[in-house]
C-alpha cells in the first residue's frame, strides 16, 4: 500500500469520526460542569461504564455447567439484544412471507388486485402501533402479540412494493420474452419475478426497518425482555445511563441489520444499474 492511499484512508476515517467525537467531548464537558443532574443527562463516560456492566456476565463462570461462549453471552445486554433480534426476524418472516405471495398475485392479476385493493387501502394507513390494544386482547402478553405487531409492520411495505414491482415490469422485457417463446409460467418465474426484484427487495428493506421500530414499542408493552423492555424498566429506577446505553444498543443493532440487508440486496441486484456500492 502506498503512502498516498494510507493518508487517504486516514482522511476518510477522520471525516467519518470527527463529528461523533466532538459531540462526545461537548457532552462530557457539559455533564462534568454539573449543570444538569446526572439523572436528567448522564455523561458519555457514565453511559459507557454502564454499557460495559450491562454487557458483562453477571456471575463468574461455572466450569461444570457452562461453556465459555454461553457464559460470555450471559450478560443482560446480549440476552436482550438477542431477544429483540429474534422477534424482529420471526415477525418479519411472517409479515413478508404473507405479503410476497399476495403481492405477486395482486400485481399479476387485475381481478385479484381490484378485489383486495380497497381493503388494503383502508388498512394500510393504520399505524401498527394502533393494533396494540387488539393484539393484547387477542394474544394476551408475551411473544405472540409482539410477532403480530411486527409482522403487520413488515407486511404493508413488502406488499405495496411487490405489487408495484410486478406491475411496473418494463414492457420491452415482456415483448422480448414473448418473441423468444415463453409460456405463462415461464414469463412469471423467469421474467416478471426477476424484473420485479429491485422493488421487492426495497420493500423488504423498508419492512425490516418498520419491524425494528415496532419491536421496540411491542417490548415496552407486551413482554419482559428485549431492548425496548429494558430501557422502559431502567426509567422506573431513574437509570438514565442505562436508558442511553440501551438506546445506543438499539441503534447499533438496527445499523447492523440494515447493513446486512444492504449487502444481500447488492449481491442479489449486482446486475442492476445505479446501485450504491
Amino acid at each position: 500500500m502506498s503512502k498516498r492511499t494510507l493518508t487517504e484512508k486516514g482522511g476518510r476515517l477522520f471525516r467519518a469520526t470527527i463529528i461523533p467525537i466532538i459531540v462526545l467531548v461537548v457532552w462530557q464537558a457539559f455533564s462534568s460542569a454539573h449543570i444538569l443532574s446526572p439523572i436528567i443527562l448522564p455523561g458519555p463516560l457514565a453511559v459507557i461504564q454502564k454499557w460495559w456492566a450491562y454487557l458483562l456476565p453477571p456471575l463468574p463462570r461455572n466450569p461444570l455447567t457452562e461453556s465459555w461462549l454461553s457464559w460470555a453471552l450471559s450478560g443482560e445486554l446480549p440476552l436482550d439484544a438477542f431477544a429483540s433480534f429474534q422477534r424482529v426476524i420471526v415477525g418479519f418472516l411472517i409479515g413478508a412471507g404473507l405479503a410476497l405471495p399476495l403481492g405477486l398475485l395482486m400485481g399479476a392479476n387485475d381481478k385479484i388486485y381490484r378485489l383486495f385493493n380497497p381493503l388494503i387501502e383502508v388498512l394500510r394507513p393504520i399505524p401498527p402501533i394502533a393494533y396494540i390494544p387488539l393484539a393484547i386482547l387477542w394474544f394476551g402478553l408475551g411473544n405472540p402479540p409482539a410477532y403480530f405487531l411486527i409482522s403487520i409492520g413488515a407486511f404493508f411495505p413488502m406488499l405495496l412494493n411487490t405489487i408495484a414491482g410486478v406491475r411496473h415490469v418494463d414492457g420491452i422485457y415482456i415483448r422480448a420474452a414473448r418473441n423468444l417463446g415463453v409460456n405463462q409460467y415461464q414469463m412469471f418465474v423467469r421474467v416478471i419475478l426477476p424484473a420485479a426484484t429491485p422493488y421487492i427487495l426495497s420493500g423488504a428493506r423498508i419492512g425490516m426497518g418498520t419491524a425494528f421500530i415496532v419491536v421496540i414499542v411491542a417490548e415496552m408493552i407486551a413482554v419482559n425482555s428485549g431492548l425496548g423492555f429494558r430501557i422502559l424498566e431502567a426509567r422506573e429506577y431513574f437509570w438514565s445511563d442505562k436508558i442511553i446505553a440501551g438506546m445506543f444498543t438499539i441503534g447499533f443493532l438496527g445499523l447492523g441489520i440494515d447493513t446486512v440487508m444492504t449487502r444481500i440486496n447488492n449481491h442479489l441486484l449486482r446486475w442492476h444499474r445505479g446501485i450504491d456500492a
Binding site: 422480448a176 418473441n179 423468444l180 417463446g181 415463453v182 409460456n183 446486475w271 442492476h272 444499474r273
Partner: protein, 288 residues
Amino acid sequence: MREAVRKDNVMIMEAPTLAGRQRQDVQIKVEGVHKRFGTAEDAVTALKDINLEISDGEFVCLLGPSGCGKSTLLNAVAGFSPPTEGRITVEGKDVVAPGPDRGMVFQEYALFPWMTVRQNIAFGLELQKRPLAEIDERTEALMHKLKLQDFRDRFPKDLSGGMRQRVAIARVLALNSPIMLMDEPFGALDALTRRSLQDELLRIWAELKKTIIFVTHSIDESIYLADRIIVMTYRPGTVKADVRVEIERPRDSTRAEFNDLKKYLTSLVMKEQERFAEDEGKLAGLRG
C-alpha cells in the same frame, strides 16, 4: 472468404425441428394489411393497404421517415400487434402471436438485465427444454461467432451498446429461426460500431441464409445491406417504392452506382420527410 465462412458454419447446427423445413419461394406474405390506432374520429391510419411478398433468404429493408409505419409493419409481422384488416402469413400459416420462428432484435436491445451474456443467449433454448449439452454447445458456438466469449459472465449493464446488440443478435440466432426481424437495431450506435455490426450481420446472413426484415431510416444503411428496399410513405403508411439493389457485395459507398441509388432514394424519402415535418409544425402550432 466464402470458404472460411462455410467451415465456421459447422459449429451452428440446424435445429432438428427445422431440418426438414420446406423451403418455399414466398415465405412471408402480407396481403391487404391496414392498421388503425385509436377509435372512430381521431383514429390514425398507420398502415394502408400493404401488399408484400418476401422470399426465403431475402434481406429486405423497410425505409422511411418517422411515422411511416415501418415499425408498425414489423410488429405486425412479429405478431405483437395484429393488423386491423388483412392477412399476414409466414410459410402459409397465419401470424397470430409472437413466436421463436420470427426472432426479433430491438433497437433498445431488450436484453434481460438480470441474466449474464451467456444466460441471455441460452434463454430461448432453455424455454424449449433442450438437453443441457446442446444448450451449452450452441451457446458457446454463438459466443465465439459474435466474439462474446470473453464477456460470457458479464451483465448487460457492463457492456457497450455494440456488445449488447451482438448479444441480442446471438440470442435470436440461438433460436435458429428462419426469419430475423430487426427494428432499427443499429440506430443508437456510433458510426464505426455500426459499420462493423453491419458487416457482421451480412456475414451471418450469407452464412445462415436467414430471411431478414430490417427497419431503418438511414438510406446508406439500407443500400449497404439490402437485396430489396421498400420505401414507405408518411401517414398513412403505404408502399411508395419497391427497389431491388443489384450492386455486388461488399458494397462501396463511394462508387457511382451506390450514389445514384442514394440520390434516387433520397428524393423519395425526403418528400415523405417534408410531409412529416409539416405535420410536426402543425402540431407545434396547435400546442403553441
